[in-house]
């Protein structure tokens, strides 16, 4: 039977844009253009590599997000994924990480999977915990934060470069993995890939399809609350000097004045 791979990808506000919070303290997804999270491109890349190595695999990309999140799916399809699932529902607005993981887990189960691949973190929320939450909810091993990953038969192996040590990990499928930006450059979509993506199936699901009640998710269903979001005051302009041969000494003078030396 073919290897079923589901890649979770998030549509995020462009980090180089002027990202901000909306009045309800949720991420403002309107004022800045969105795109496929760069860190999820690494997930798509590794999923495609695993699929190519297996010779008999199907790669489904999955997103939970607003209408525009289709763009993220299209990009992943043009990189080479086979099909897409888009969970979209007005009631999802404001859902926190616990709720998002519930929606993703239901959608993954509905799609059917042997391997779930995630990025290391979303570039907007930057929590990096959805993969662990998915493993907990699905009751399968988590093999996460990998800089190297491979699947051989029913086993997934990977290298995790942790804080204090580098670990080699191993688990049986089905499993959830997440990959870091050290796992290898993501491919660019080819012209052929972009054309082919237009014909690939995108399935749309709402909360009803997944058997999730509206009050389990959204801002009201969140288990955390953001009470305030304040723009960080701009740093006061510093002193900039041009090195005319004494730059290092001037810098030392500054450090001494600040009691660093």
């Amino acid at each position: 039977m073919s290897l079923r791979i589901v890649v979770c990808v998030k549509y995020v506000p462009d980090a180089t844009g002027d990202r901000r919070f909306a009045d309800d303290n949720t991420t403002d997804r309107d004022s800045v253009d969105g795109l496929l999270s760069e860190l999820d491109e690494y997930g798509v890349e590794q999923a495609l590599k695993i699929a190519e190595a297996s010779g008999d695999a199907e790669v489904t990309v999955l997103t939970v997000g607003p209408d525009d999140a289709k763009d993220a799916l299209r990009k992943a399809l043009s990189m080479g994924a086979d099909k897409a699932v888009h969970v979209n529902d007005d009631d999802i607005h404001g859902t926190d990480v616990i709720g998002t993981s519930a929606i993703l887990a239901k959608a993954i189960e509905k799609t059917g999977y042997d391997l779930v691949v995630c990025g290391m973190a979303s570039t907007d929320g930057t929590m990096g915990i959805i993969p662990a939450l998915l493993a907990e909810r699905l009751g399968v091993p988590q093999v996460t934060l990998l800089s190297e990953v491979s699947v051989d038969g029913g086993t997934v192996k990977g290298r995790r470069d942790g804080d204090a040590a580098t670990e080699l990990l191993e688990a049986s499928l089905p499993a959830v993995v997440s990959v870091t930006d050290q796992s290898g450059e993501a491919r660019y979509p080819s012209f052929k890939g972009i054309m082919a993506a237009k014909k690939k199936p995108v399935e749309s699901l709402d909360l009803d399809d997944l058997g999730i009640e509206a009050d389990e998710v959204g801002l009201a269903g969140a288990w955390t609350a953001v009470d305030s979001a304040t723009a960080r005051p701009a740093r006061t302009a510093g002193t900039i000097v041009k090195d005319e041969g004494e730059g290092g000494k001037q810098l030392a003078e500054f450090l001494a004045s600040q009691k660093f030396i």
Partner: protein, 323 residues
């Protein structure tokens, strides 16, 4: 006051500094109890240290599973201890890759909300209030857990560890592992070799190099400055991708997030992803030959010039002043 569980981060038989910071923060919101897992023969020494920093109790459990399998055994232990403790006022964990994953799974099991990467923590009317930085530290948010036991991960350097002697009474715990505990086997572990320099996330001063350093050998001038100041060495992703410096030293969105008293950026342009890892530093200094480099927008003091002239001169001056 309610009990606050603090998961102890330890390496080579010693407690790591961020745990002492957590104990210090925990005292603001309740009475800290430490949870010490897999410390082996070092448990007694570590427990004594935890007591010095305010741990009234130290729940200690030892089992091979903690080292042999990823994340889940520690979640099993914390879940069991948290449930036995009744309703703890909070659970605090260090914000590392592993710490965040442990916190997330624990929160789900406890039916609780989870907050990650807090940079400060204070008592509030409806539970602990976490301060977080968002969007590459361009926003500051105040958040709280609105359901269940607040499970919060806190970044290193959120506060300075303050001693406050408490009993540190060790209570042995026998953990009953669940079916998923042994799902992911750690087949080998290679500890990171110590450079003898301070830990990047814990250091008071960080000296970083970027693409402007030009080559692996170029990091020599960065390291010499770091050593003259007793600082840790950081690198931009461009320098890491070029193979000039190890990834474990990368500062930024996908590297370490540092918040030292002083950050010195050498030959780094200041891309948003780099800023995400250093923008909250107290004082920022930049050396860059391009006067238009965005890093200067952050700098308290900047020198426009060639780092190979400026940095060695600075190092010599630091050494001279320190005598």
């Amino acid at each position: 006051m309610g009990e606050v569980l603090v998961l102890v981060d330890h390496v080579d038989g010693a407690v790591r500094k961020p745990t002492l910071e957590l104990l210090t923060l925990a005292r603001r919101i309740g009475e800290p109890s430490a949870v010490l897992l897999g410390a082996g023969s070092a448990a007694a020494d570590i427990a004594a240290k935890l007591g010095e920093y305010g741990a009234a109790k130290v729940y200690a459990a030892d089992a091979a599973e903690f080292a042999d399998y990823l994340v889940v055994p520690k979640v099993d232990a914390l879940e069991q201890i948290a449930k036995a403790a009744g309703e703890p006022a909070a659970v605090l964990v260090t914000s590392s890759g592993e710490g965040k994953e442990i916190a997330a799974r624990l929160a789900l099991r406890l039916g609780s909300g989870v907050i990650t990467d807090a940079v400060d923590l204070n008592a509030g009317d409806s539970g602990p209030v976490a301060t977080q930085s968002a969007f590459a530290a361009s926003f500051t948010t105040l958040s709280r857990v609105s359901r269940g036991v607040p499970v919060i991960t806190v970044k290193p350097n959120a506060t300075s560890p303050e001693a406050s002697v408490a009993a540190g009474a060790v209570e042995g715990v026998e953990v009953v592992f669940g079916a998923t505990a042994t799902g992911t086997k750690v087949t080998s572990r290679t500890p990171r070799v110590s450079t003898g320099r301070p830990e990047l996330t814990e250091a008071a001063i960080v000296v970083s190099g970027g693409r402007g350093v030009g080559a692996a050998e170029g990091f020599g001038v960065v390291e010499e400055l770091a050593d003259s100041l007793g600082a840790a060495v950081g690198a931009s992703r461009a320098a890491v991708d070029a193979g000039w410096y190890p990834h474990s030293n990368q500062v930024g969105q996908t590297g370490k997030q540092v918040s030292p008293q002083l950050y010195i950026a050498n030959g780094i342009s200041g891309a948003i992803q780099h800023r995400a890892g250093m923008q909250t530093s107290k004082t920022i200094v930049a050396v860059n030959k391009d006067a238009e480099a965005p890093i200067f927008e952050l700098a308290d003091y900047g020198v426009v010039g060639d780092l190979f002239n400026v940095v060695p001169q600075l190092t010599a001056e630091v050494k001279a002043r320190k005598g």
